[in-house]
Symmetry: D2
Subunit: 328 residues, 4 copies
């Protein structure tokens, strides 16, 4: 896309401000100016560190002051709240636990939009309801800022090693600017379409993942009870039409695949509780769009039942354990 | 059970007997002696032809005389019933639509076991309840014959091009003899374990396949409704943890993958009705072994509902169409 | 919040205040003063008429002017928007199709809360998400008004004959005042607890109803296929532990019970689409409270699939028809 | 029904034997001759006692000799096996745990049919697959005997107090004779139709019961979490369309209904394991008849998961406990 096209696209989207166009280009060119980072939890912390490693000055905040220590020691400037971040940085990344946090961080009394500069680029990597992403994008646009949703796949490990996949929704013209930052933190940065489609892609993937994991667990359990060796069964599935990521890469049966949580008593990995949260988002989205998702819906219920039975913090592949017979 | 039968029994159990080796080698060495084939339907017909191509004389039968014509013209000898096949061939392959047919063909009044020769190798490629495979194996053993279950994956196309996968259960000592014949009809011949485990592997694979297909259909439908391009969504899933055979090889959304039934109005492929049958077997097996299979169970119900709504003969990927909104 | 508002707040919380009693009695004693009515659809229309019959002057509005004609001819005064209703009446009933309408009618630019009088009683009979009822109640309280949720069970027929059941949530001290109006339109007015519990009770009932209806349909279909006479099977269920409202009062099999939609090709009654909407509310509520509802969730999906297959406007008992075999 | 009608009906059903007709009437008239009873477990024991109380001499047997003691002390004659019972009694009642036991007791080497007298009336009160009832009936008919299936509803308590409900399938002409005996052990004896329909009715009832129980548990749990008082919620459901036996008679929430297992830590009542067994029968029957039962199927899976998680011997209403959140 050449420069004139880019300008036109921005113009079409925003249509009213020379200042804005100016600011946008300023932002893109001065790539090592300050970047704001809000949300320094298990995921946000290593992500912010990776930005620091790439030489970006960081202005950060988190509701828990102790979460800020580590990045502060590495040189990040810590401020009191999101509004102050927005006051000092025109590119901001947010990584928050759930929908209400995103609403608060953007539109709350000390939220980003209170002090956001025109032309700012706001990238939300939280996993939330795509309809909320759209609402926050609309509110940002009113303030002259650009909002993109960019949820990730890959867990804490991928965040540390900068191997995350980012699924990005928002104005295509801004994708290059977003990718510049996101590629410091991830191995894949995929443009998905209009605002909210990043969330949509994330939610869709995780719904299918959950279905595949429970399905693999049921299947492995059934096969074992019918006398099949688990490794052999996995091998057969993986060369046949039953193959899926949960059978060939992250098998829930201990000992079938090396280096996955099933081999470590389902410690680490992606918690059942987090999967239940994502399936709740998938369910809400499906309900709101009147889309039937029978297996996705049942997968949600199964992970919800597991949370109620003590599996909340185990890896989501522990559904294999949940389904197994407890007693002889 | 007379003395000789008893010996045979010991032989089967204890693979080092000389007598046993003798019987086996008699069969194995004379590899181009007659092979019996029972069941010349859509699958059995091309399978029998592939044996003929490899130079095996065929003695065949089918309840529908017209099904016999084609192989007869290619040189097969047609006889009246399974007992007569067993009278003339000591290696027999059966390919039948369902459990009752298998019971009848083996143990019925004109069944194989009425005239089976001692030491015969009986290979059943039908997809049936593994517990029935075990019963037929026990009945065969009483007559001094060896029974193996060897159901296939791959449809009519794979049967024609000799690209089937055979999943074989039975005495390991007989696997080589079975493989000699099966490899004329298939690209993969996998030893699964004791009698019934071939069926178990087949049933397990198809249950997970059904779950993956419905899951992929729900996910693609949801993603499309949330504004994602179907090809892009499939690409994202396939590079992420949602990846499965139904998303990357046999995508149910028209236009995403070339050369699959979804691109041809769900004609050809693997019928919904056949999938419902296999899921019924999976369900029965799970019920009998008291194994929870919540998603497999719901997948069965969905394919059953589809059969009730006119989808019986469409490819099983038509669940995507079934779940879509009919009207605005 | 100014002083008077604050007092009002205290008043609501502490039911013994003289000021409070004064405000309440002002409203209660003048019982035949004007009542506002917003939403004159299929349900609202006969409800408003019943209030007119009891001698209450009505001030009404609806987004569709033609919906207002009938009650206007019966003497109701029609105004332009909810704010104007609130300007003229201190008791207002709303009966709206869904959550966004309620939000708009109460908090929108021409909403009730723009001109609501202090001490007004606002009763919402729409079926919506209980968390929204709580939010609207809080917003009303800020304006010095009292909000109660009072969704109904019973359809258009019950609305016409004033036989509705109202499930009422809100301050117990206001229940008597609410009941005065609601009992003109219904046979039962049940106090359920704090704001939102009316909705909760409604949603819970309809979720169990849907489960019972699908369950009864599956059971009747299975029994018929096993050779049981449908009337006899219903009789046996109804004298046993399988008994439920769907089996004994509203049986989905044509001919088993007189005068229900199953006997009239599933015309009339409670539409599949409306049931799907209520199940969507139940699902959202369950998701938000992290409550597992496996059967409720699957019931939602089944009604959603039915909507996608042409059953949207048939009575929800048509699930019996949906599950039946289409062809021999 | 007058005498001639009765004779005609028998003639139509049996059509071939004067001896048979003679024997039948002999049997009916001599009502206090010996009655055989096979299966003296928790249910069979009190049932046999009730026959003794009514003056019927009992000839009984059970695989566990110690089960025979009590009825022996009350005057029953104990014999070694079912064949001996059939040798001495021409009316026999069987009450056995599951399908294989029934097959063995009737058709095994020491089974009833080895020595059954022509014209004998064989009544099976076990809960088994209706297709097996039909097979045993056919085998009995070949021996000149009449087989009826007569499974019960009501547990050990109802068996002791002779308050069982019998659902009877078989030749209508024999129903009077069967009822004579069954009414000594039960309060209701319902004729359901041809052989197997008694089982069908039982299975149908229990499937709907399981659905209603899980549905009620989900609903009560959801309502409680939304702030409703459980007793109030039950009251609302029971006056509305959500009403079912599980909500109004056997509520799974402790304290809502008196004298049910939920009030006694889910001790006593009808075990989860037994419900899982009956749902397995329902599932098998539905699979074999290609009938979709989505909720019945999921109910089966939930009870199966409960068995895997330590609930096997708790009352089936403990699903409420299973679904509740374990921890804050």
């Amino acid at each position: 896309m050449n420069n004139i096209q880019q300008q036109q696209k921005v113009i079409i989207a925003c249509a009213w401000s020379h200042v804005f166009l100016f600011v946008v280009s300023t932002r893109s060119m001065a790539s090592k100016t300050q970047v704001g980072f809000i949300g320094l939890g298990n995921m946000g912390n290593p992500m912010a560190k990776n930005l620091l490693k790439h030489g970006y000055p960081i202005i950060a905040t988190d509701v828990f002051p102790e979460s800020c220590k580590e990045v502060q020691e590495l040189g990040a400037q810590i401020v009191d709240n999101p509004a102050e971040v927005a006051d000092k940085a025109d590119r901001i990344i947010t990584m928050l636990p759930s929908t209400p946090n995103v609403i608060d961080v953007y539109t709350g009394p000390n939220g980003i939009l209170k002090k956001v500069k025109k032309g700012s680029l706001l990238i939300d990597s939280s996993t939330i309801d795509p309809s909320v992403s759209k609402e926050v994008a609309a509110a940002s646009e009113k303030m002259g800022a650009v909002f993109m949703d960019a949820p990730v796949s890959g867990g804490v490990g991928a965040a540390s090693s900068a191997k995350l996949t980012f699924m990005v929704g928002g104005a295509e013209a801004e994708f290059t600017a977003a990718k510049e930052l996101l590629s410091c933190m991830g191995a894949n940065v995929v443009y998905c379409g209009q605002v909210g489609t990043g969330q949509a892609a994330k939610i869709c993937n995780n719904m299918l993942l959950a279905i595949g994991m429970i399905g693999t667990s049921e299947t492995m359990n059934l096969g074992i009870r019918l006398g099949l060796d688990p490794k052999l069964l996995a091998k057969i599935l993986n060369m046949s039409s039953g193959r899926c990521w949960s059978s060939d890469t992250y098998n829930p049966v201990p000992g079938v695949v090396e280096g996955v949580p099933s081999g470590n008593n389902y410690q680490g990995g992606f918690g059942t509780q987090l999967m239940a949260k994502d399936l709740g988002l998938a369910q809400n989205t499906a309900t709101n769009t009147k889309t039937p998702v029978p297996l996705g819906s049942l997968a949600h219920q199964i992970y919800r039942m597991m949370c109620a039975r003590g599996y909340a913090s185990k890896d989501f592949s522990s559904v294999f354990q949940f389904l197994r017979e407890e007693e002889g």
